[in-house]
């Protein structure tokens, strides 16, 4: 595999760092070129616009753990936001953080709290890592999901303190059991009341004893915990590997080390790390990334301009194993070839039929009606070269039109970015 040409690198950028584009928009993007597109995706205006484009109506999100409709509403609105996003990199990174700093609706219960966590990722997901870590730690959904809410100095709960080090910041092997215990005590005191709003620090619940944490003396509260973790050499490597794996499909140690150095030099600004990763990725031979059912659906619906009934998409995403706000556990979705399990493939294929049935983009529908499979690949945003021969056979097996479009959407070429 060789590095991509300009045209393919723009397509690659939108499939990896965004959620694809409909054909007309993609043609305009290719005209502008990779560098301009990357700048546009990362501009501070885009970030500010993203925050402004909040789709949720808080009136529909009562602080009520028994309210099931608000859960469906919260998920549906988020999917629609991603499909219609005008700041796709912001929303792509929000999705990435959702799979990294995991909370899940089945334990959090109150949909409003999950929505507020997604808002946090949209607001702060490209900013300074220390601010993001601090905000995530005392985010209400996180306090509920990993039990800091009920952790007190007298009876500390280690759940958050452990996952914070293992899954969120450093990785296994870079901390000790004593660090987990010291961290749990230092983070006591943060809680919220029955209503869910109003996260507050209650000094009476906090153990303020200074302890050694990650080799740093005097750690006793949230700020000193964040400072200590930010000082760990493992931190930039861990975060750079996360971003590189997600966006580039690549954990090459040399690349990760280089990205980590740049990340540290930038003052740990996530947006700078993302820019560096995408720039490096465009200069390398692309590594394949299996799109999970959710990002795949968003790309498919955006590219073909398909509006899907929320109920239908949620049922099928659940069957495919990737309903947003409901990751399977605190490690998030496993990803990779595990998405080729039979149950997920069946649901994804059924979902492809739904997308195809609702597609409205005229370029896409015309290409699906015709017999030129290269044209179909192009309008779907695939790199030049299009479909392999075997996939062409499948496209021929399906009747021209929406059935053929459905087959194209589950082709290995389209499922693997």
């Amino acid at each position: 595999m060789e590095a991509m040409d300009e045209r393919d690198s723009v397509k690659w950028l939108h499939r990896r760092a965004g959620f694809g584009l409909p054909p007309a928009q993609m043609r305009a993007s290719i005209e502008r070129g990779f560098a301009a597109e990357l700048d546009g995706l990362l501009s501070s205006v885009a970030v500010a616009d993203a925050v402004a484009a909040d789709p949720w109506d808080d009136e529909s999100l009562p602080y009520d753990p028994m309210d099931a409709p608000s859960r469906r509403y919260a998920i549906a609105s988020w999917i629609a936001l991603m499909v219609n996003s005008e700041q796709p990199l912001v929303d792509r990174l929000t999705w990435l953080w959702h799979g990294h700093f995991v909370s899940a609706l089945d334990k959090v219960r109150v949909a409003r709290l999950m929505v507020d966590q997604i808002r946090l990722f949209r607001n702060a997901g490209l900013g300074e890592l220390s601010a993001l870590l601090r905000a995530v730690t005392i985010d209400a959904a996180m306090l509920a999901y990993l039990d800091l809410r009920t952790s007190t100095g007298a009876t500390p709960n280690e759940n958050y303190a452990r996952e914070f080090l293992e899954l969120f910041t450093l990785g296994e092997g870079n901390y000790t059991e004593a660090d987990v215990q010291a961290g749990a005590l230092a983070l006591t005191g943060w809680t919220f009341g029955r209503g869910g709003g109003g996260v507050a620090f209650r000094a009476g619940r906090h153990d303020d004893t200074a302890r050694t944490y990650l080799g740093v003396d005097g750690v006793h509260d949230l700020d000193t915990v964040i400072d200590a973790v930010m000082a760990q050499p493992a931190l930039p490597l861990f975060i750079a590997a996360t971003i590189s794996q997600e966006l580039l499909g690549d954990r090459d140690p040399d690349l990760v080390a280089e990205l980590a150095r740049g990340f540290e030099a930038s003052g740990f600004v996530v947006g700078d790390l993302v820019r560096a990763a995408l720039t490096a990725g465009a200069d390398r031979a692309p590594s394949p990334v299996v799109l999970g059912p959710l990002p795949w659906l968003v790309v498919a619906a955006r590219v073909s301009a398909a509006a899907i009934a929320p109920r239908e998409s949620q049922l099928l995403l659940q069957a495919a194993g990737q309903l947003p706000m409901l990751p399977p556990n605190v490690a998030g979705w496993p990803g990779g070839a595990t998405w080729f399990n039979s149950g997920s493939l069946v649901a994804r294929t059924n979902l492809a039929a739904v997308v195809a049935a609702n597609a409205t983009d005229e370029d896409v529908l015309a290409a699906a009606d015709g017999g030129d499979h290269d044209a179909l690949a192009d309008v779907l945003g695939l790199p030049d070269g299009g479909f392999e021969d075997q996939s062409r056979a499948a496209l021929r097996a399906a009747p021209a039109g929406r059935d053929r479009l459905a087959v194209a959407l589950v082709s290995p070429e389209f499922m693997i970015a």
């Binding site: 099931a68 500390p156 296994e172 493939l345 056979a393 097996a397």
Partner: protein, 428 residues
């Protein structure tokens, strides 16, 4: 990996019920130094499988050409309780320390279901439906199972269970599937629920069915999908091969379950398939002629950091009811002698409760083995005066459970696991 034992060597050993420990051909030693099983009373013969085999066994030791079955027709079901099931409230110990360390969580002595022949522990009241299996000598309870040097991370611990503590190798059952001479039928290894990496091989992957109602094509002609062809190696090749097997799996599954009962209600994981639902589907699969022999049923929710009492009671009730119905279905299908079921979880929980009405991640945990081939009894030990970092000290390694499972299948456990662990002998 060829099966090294055949069914012949086991048949007959189960007759009579009480443990005459037999040593199978590969030379595994009888467990003597290990924690001894407390054999529950003498087993009344009326509770033994209805018809002890009186005719010579007919199942050959190699895959049956007629049925295509591996393992001499034996099946294995693994039930995974994801999140770290709490050992101490599952099998409450008769120990003052238990009540001291769990002032609000300990079950009162009069709630605990007594087990005949055991005086230092009983059953959680939700597990009362299992007393019949205990009294008939078909239930082995294992307490304190876990790795000698434990890890309190879910993911590290699950991974160690899945890979039998060999982090560079695929799942321990996946290795068995990889070792079969030819690729088995698509439903041969099926995971019901949230997936089952223990079934993931290096070359062969299980069929994962999250919910039975959604495992069918809608507005899709499977012939289009078959036309993607086959492949191997890179991700695209894996996708093609996976599609090909999926087409057959859906076909087989539809024939078996004949399911019009699509669960249309979106309920998030609040309505996730229960263990009992998963085991009901497992029973249908095993009783079919689709060559289903390894089934993993998993459900989450056992990570009871908070509000444990009601949550755990419901979860265990689901488990107990699921197990009893499953064994009854196997009896009806004439498979009671052919199925071994084991329950696993990645670790037990901290001995002392936390301040949230729950308990944190611990070490020594709970497993059970159930089936006509099982030598019932209590295995492993819990000593609350000899804790390991405030946790139940592991006394039985998971590899010992796996060794028994592989023996059951007639698979070379030493080759599969690196070495056998004969510290407990759960089978007749």
């Amino acid at each position: 990996m060829r099966p090294t034992f055949d069914r012949r060597q086991f048949i007959g050993l189960s007759v009579g019920g009480v443990a005459t420990v037999a040593v199978a051909a590969s030379g595994c030693s009888t467990a003597t130094g290990a924690p001894t099983a407390t054999t529950p009373m003498t087993v009344p013969t009326t509770l033994l499988p209805a018809t002890p085999p009186t005719t010579p066994p007919t199942t050959p030791s190699v895959p049956n050409a007629l049925s295509g079955l591996q393992f001499g027709g034996r099946r294995l079901v693994v039930v995974q309780l994801n999140g770290g099931n709490d050992l101490l409230n599952t099998l409450p110990p008769a120990s003052g320390r238990y009540h001291d360390l769990r002032p609000t969580l300990a079950l009162a002595d009069d709630e605990v279901v007594p087990l005949s022949g055991v005086d230092d522990a009983g059953l959680h009241p939700s597990l009362a439906p299992l007393v019949g299996a205990w009294d008939s000598g078909q239930l082995a309870l294992i307490r304190g199972i876990g790795f000698e040097v434990p890890n309190r991370s879910h993911f590290v611990s699950m991974d160690r269970w899945w890979r039998a503590d060999e982090s560079s190798k695929p799942g321990w059952l996946g290795r068995v599937v990889d070792g079969l001479g030819e690729e088995p039928s698509p439903l041969f290894g099926t995971a019901l629920g949230s997936g089952a990496p223990l079934l993931n091989g290096a070359m062969r992957q299980p069929t994962v069915i999250g919910s039975p109602g959604s495992f069918r094509w809608v507005d899709i002609d499977p012939e289009w999908i078959s036309a993607f062809g086959d492949g191997s190696g890179d991700l695209a090749g894996l996708a093609r091969h996976a599609f090909l097997r999926t087409v057959q799996a859906v076909d087989d599954f539809a024939e078996i379950t004949d399911s019009e009962s699509t669960s249309d209600e979106l309920a998030g994981r609040e309505g996730q398939a229960s263990i009992a639902d998963g085991l009901a589907t497992a029973a249908q699969l095993l009783a079919s002629d689709a060559g289903v022999q390894l089934v993993v049923v998993s459900a989450s929710g056992f990570d009871t950091h908070a509000n444990q009492l009601p949550v755990h009671a419901n979860l265990l009730s689901d488990v107990a009811n699921g197990l009893v119905s499953f064994m009854a279905a196997m009896e009806t299908a004439g498979l009671a002698d052919d199925v071994l079921l084991v329950v696993t979880s990645e670790f037990g929980r901290r001995v002392a409760e936390n301040g949230s009405g729950g308990c944190d991640h611990g070490a020594g945990g709970f497993s059970l083995a159930l089936g006509a081939g099982v030598q019932g009894g209590m295995y492993g030990e819990v000593d609350l005066d000899d804790l390991l970092d405030d946790d139940v000290r592991p006394t039985v390694a998971p590899q010992a459970l796996f060794t028994n499972c592989l023996d059951w299948l007639g698979v070379d456990a030493a080759a599969t696991l690196g070495e056998r662990d004969d510290s407990v002998k759960l089978l007749h």
